[in-house]
């Protein structure tokens, strides 16, 4: 019962985003032991931002990009043409499934994608547009 009560208290603090000691102190009932109240408040405050960050990191989301690697290859021959020199890009994306679903064993899958130069140029155009939109939003 004690653990459950503590859990509810900390959840409430994190959910509401309480940062001031007065706000937390006011949650305790009137005749609560003074020193214990102060001690608990101090501990909760110290950990609140870490808990908040963790909650945000484990909230439901689409699969998340965790890492990316790339390499550039030159294709020199194929079954349809015996000599050529075509550069191509291989991009490996490491994607982690929804953290909330996996608990402590996150499933990370690696996806390797090939891009031609034209595709890369188009992609960069798209990414540039995203960057411009982001700066427009940030500057508002």
């Amino acid at each position: 019962q004690l653990v459950s009560a503590l859990h509810n208290l900390t959840r409430h603090v994190v959910y509401q985003g309480l940062t001031k000691p007065e706000d937390i102190l006011s949650l305790f009932p009137e005749n609560f032991h003074q020193n214990l109240k102060n001690l608990l408040t101090k501990i909760i405050l110290e950990n609140a931002s870490a808990w908040r960050n963790e909650a945000q990191a484990s909230q439901i989301s689409l699969p998340r990009l965790v890492d990316m690697d790339w390499r550039v290859d030159i294709k020199t021959s194929s079954d349809s043409i015996s000599r050529m020199a075509v550069p191509t890009c291989l991009l490996q994306l490491k994607i982690q499934e929804d953290a909330a679903l996996c608990g402590n064993n996150p499933v990370v899958s690696a996806l390797t994608v090939e891009l031609s130069k034209e595709t890369l140029d188009t992609m960069l155009e798209g990414l540039g547009r995203i960057r411009d939109q982001l700066s427009a939003v940030a500057n508002k």
Binding site: A55, V72, S78, I81, D121, L127, L134
Partner: protein
């Protein structure tokens, strides 16, 4: 020899647009009727003729080599030279087509995105963090697959930076 140049034209039009099979067959049968040839034997002849440019493409033959091949197969010098000329004119297009057919693993076809702000969640009442969602359309074999993922802002900037480095690298090899 005017017949031959008309036939050559039909053949090259098909080679540069290999998806236009219907049109190719129609043009062949028109040619047959106009020149009072029967379609069956004509088709066989054209099939043999087509072997030469296809083989030439695979082996990167020059137009002189194509001409020599045709002469070796029994075509007159005039006709062989004409065909070789047409081959030279069309080879950039044909080469580009062959390169385009080359194997690509999990080719990226399209990319869509949206970004927004996470307003709240079951754990946190007010969040206010920006997320970017990407949808990549990938060709796996003959099927399309959609891959969805989320990026934080710092990840996005790092991704953009890396892609710009890839572009520089690809350009230095072109």
């Amino acid at each position: 020899s005017q017949q031959f140049s008309a036939l050559t034209e039909v053949i090259f039009r098909f080679l540069t647009e290999p998806k236009e099979v219907e049109r190719f067959l129609t043009q062949l049968s028109d040619f047959a009727t106009m020149n009072k040839l029967s379609l069956g034997p004509l088709k066989n002849i054209v099939k043999s003729i087509l072997l030469v440019p296809n083989g030439a493409l695979k082996r990167n033959l020059s137009s002189e080599q194509v001409r020599a091949d045709f002469i070796a197969l029994g075509l007159s010098e005039e006709k062989a030279s004409y065909f070789a000329e047409q081959w030279k004119l069309n080879s950039p297009t044909l080469t580009r087509l062959a390169v385009g057919q080359t194997l690509m693993i999990n080719q990226l076809i399209d990319m869509e995105w949206k970004f927004g702000v996470t307003a709240g969640s079951s754990e946190l009442e007010k969040v206010g963090s920006i997320f970017l969602q990407l949808k990549l359309v990938i060709k796996k074999g003959s099927q399309m697959e959609n891959v969805y993922m989320e990026l934080t802002l710092p990840q996005f900037y790092s991704f953009l930076h890396e892609m710009e480095r890839v572009k520089t690298s690809l350009e230095s090899f072109s």
